[in-house]
């Protein structure tokens, strides 16, 4: 059962490769496949929510010797979120992806990417986590530069080099961990790590992990590859990356630090809190200076990562629960915003805020669709972002971390400023018009938007609204996931099966 999220994307990818020339078949596989994956992940989520942790030992090599696949509540939540995001991206790419990219293997890569993402969420083994990261990164590398546009190659180069560097740091950290503990299974490591002597070395290993995952999750000051590359590929790909990739980095940070380094928190807490604050502030200030729709959103990815890390750094049940709720919220809201940027580009031919304008007059429904995720991201009630930030702020106040709370609230205000800037420039202001052909004002390209673009955006917006309306039960689930992260004994028992 829990291997299905790995096997299904592989099967879909293989069938898409077999149907290399039959783009329509690939489209059907992508949408139906994403639906099947969603159903499977929903079933896994329901089962985990009732019955606790699920695990299997691959090839019957018992833990801690083989590779364990484990799904606890956190993994189940993220699997479900990821498959919803994938479905939205798959549907959007029916209309939003250009023909050459479809012909050159967009859909197979999409499935491989999902396999890597799901694998990272499911695995219970440190080295296996590295392998899934590489599966995910390799597909994302190719997706990033697919089409070989000038800007794409340039952005892709920065993305590839820095992510390879982070993989190497991650791998060195795995080597050191294995040397000091003789284990790679995460559950086994959770038991052995506290016994490692001298203590300073655990901190060193932790820092290596933090830098490795920090590059992938786009933490301050390691995030510069993100705004340099995320705006270069087509917007569907950018939306998928923004929703999933950096969040997988954060998931790895959360999983590894809660299981392995909770004993070193007096060292990591101030460090992570400082990084969280700086990530929020620098991300949102970077966004304020942008004039490209996608670059602006890319900087917001960074600033939102700061909130997630703040939840991790506070390390209480409420804080981590809030971070999990926040992760789900930001995946949906961010994807919706990127997809809307794609729709705006479809109807007006540009991503440049200075070129755009007057869309409220032409597309009132699109403006409304933008407003929902934008206000959610800024944190206005009753949308999901308000409750995510509220929970985080409450958790921060409980832990008496007033500075980070103040920073979080201040950044929230700046986020609102950024979103109103997009609103003013793209939707509210009058369209700039060219005089004498000198101004590069793009002519309107389309007057109708295809349903395949509307469906995912409306769907994501509805989810964002529902997450706000049902914030209480949802955050309760997130809190339970957080509780099992803070007290991993149940996780360890299931994986190791009561080994001494």
């Amino acid at each position: 059962m829990i291997a299905l999220p790995l096997l299904l994307p592989l099967v879909f990818a293989v069938f898409s490769l077999l149907a290399w020339r039959l783009i329509n078949v690939q489209k059907v596989i992508a949408v139906l496949g994403s639906l099947v994956l969603l159903a499977v992940n929903l079933a896994i989520f329901l089962q985990v929510q009732q019955g606790g942790v699920l695990s299997i030992q691959v090839g019957r090599w018992t833990a801690p010797f083989g590779v364990s696949l484990v799904v606890d509540l956190l993994s189940a939540i993220l699997l479900l979120t990821a498959s919803l995001a994938a479905l939205a991206a798959a549907v959007f790419s029916l209309a939003g992806m250009d023909a050459p990219r479809l012909r050159w293997g967009y859909f197979p890569l999409f499935h491989f990417l999902m396999m890597g993402v799901n694998g990272a969420f499911i695995t219970g083994d440190l080295f296996n986590l590295y392998v899934w990261f590489e599966v995910m990164l390799m597909s994302s590398f190719v997706l990033m530069v697919l089409g070989s546009g000038r800007f794409q190659l340039e952005g892709g180069l920065k993305y590839v080099i820095l992510n390879l560097l982070s993989s190497m740091l991650f791998l060195s950290a795995i080597g050191l961990t294995y040397h000091f503990t003789g284990a790679l299974n995460l559950a086994d490591l959770a038991r052995r790590m506290p016994a490692v002597e001298p203590r300073g070395l655990t901190v060193l290993i932790g820092v290596l992990f933090m830098v490795g995952f920090g590059i992938k999750a786009a933490l301050f000051p390691l995030y510069f590859w993100l705004p340099a590359s995320y705006h270069t590929p087509p917007v569907t790909i950018a939306a998928l990356f923004s929703g999933l990739l950096s969040k997988v980095g954060f998931y790895a940070l959360l999983r590894v630090f809660s299981l392995l380094f909770s004993g070193q928190w007096e060292f990591f807490q101030p460090l992570l809190l400082a990084l969280a604050g700086l990530t929020m502030v620098s991300g949102v200030l970077g966004a304020a200076a942008q004039t490209d729709f996608r670059r602006l959103l890319s900087f917001h990815i960074i600033s939102q990562i700061g909130y997630l890390v703040m939840g991790l750094a506070l390390f209480s049940r409420e804080a981590i629960g809030a971070a999990i709720y926040f992760t789900v919220h930001v995946i949906f809201a961010k994807m919706a915003l990127f997809l809307i940027a794609g729709m705006v580009q479809t109807v007006s031919g540009s991503f440049d805020l200075r070129r755009l304008g007057g869309l409220y007059r032409r597309f009132p429904a699109l403006s409304l669709a933008f407003l929902v995720p934008a206000m959610a991201l800024a944190g206005l009630p009753p949308l999901s972002g308000f409750f995510a930030k509220l929970l985080l702020v409450i958790a921060g106040l409980q832990e008496s971390r007033y500075v980070i709370v103040a920073v979080a609230l201040f950044v929230s205000l700046l986020t609102l400023f950024s979103m109103t800037k997009i609103w003013n420039e793209v939707f509210w202001k009058l369209a700039p018009v060219s005089s004498a052909g000198k101004l590069p004002s793009a002519p309107p390209q389309n007057d109708a938007l295809p349903a395949a673009m509307w469906a995912p955006v409306v769907g994501l917006s509805v989810i964002v609204i529902l997450m706000g309306l049902f914030a209480d039960p949802l955050s309760e689930i997130a809190n339970r996931a957080a509780a099992s992260l803070l007290d991993p004994q149940g996780y360890i028992n299931v994986v190791l099966g009561g080994l001494p």
Binding site: F127, Y130, V131, E134, L137, M138, F141, V142, V145, S148, R150, F151, L153, E154, G155, G156, L157, K158, V160, I161, L164, L165, S167, M168, L171, S172, I174, G175, L176, Y178, H179, G182, L184, F224, P227, A228, S229, H231, T232, T291, D292, D352, R354, K429, L430, A431, P432, V433, S434, S435, K438, L439, P440, S441
Partner: protein
Amino acid sequence: MSVLLAATVGVLFAAGLYMMLRRSLVKILVGLLLLSHAVNLVLFASGNLVPGRPPIIPASGAPPAIGYADSVPQALILTAIVISFGVTAFAVVLVKQTNQVIGVDDLNELRNTDAHTEMDAVFDLDEELIEHCEEEEYP
């Protein structure tokens, strides 16, 4: 032995990071290669090197005495080498393609996705004109 290995790893890391800080794309590739070798050696050393004690159970069935070589790191290295081979091959092609399309081998020239773009330059010239036009067209 492990001192020698540690020194090698150190030199490889230093050289790799130095090369990654260079401006030329090819040198950065060389840096990546050196770093991946360094990491593979770290993995190799992580299992406590034991010369001449293979972890093989003889035909008699008696398990080898404690202190035999750990075979897990070798499986890890094998995986890591395969992955880094694939990734490096991709990076080489990417650098070649970038060089063909953009025509430079200097990172200082590759700033178009970071800061201002060509489109920005056009706009900086004409920004005032845009505002002016707006008023004209929409009374």
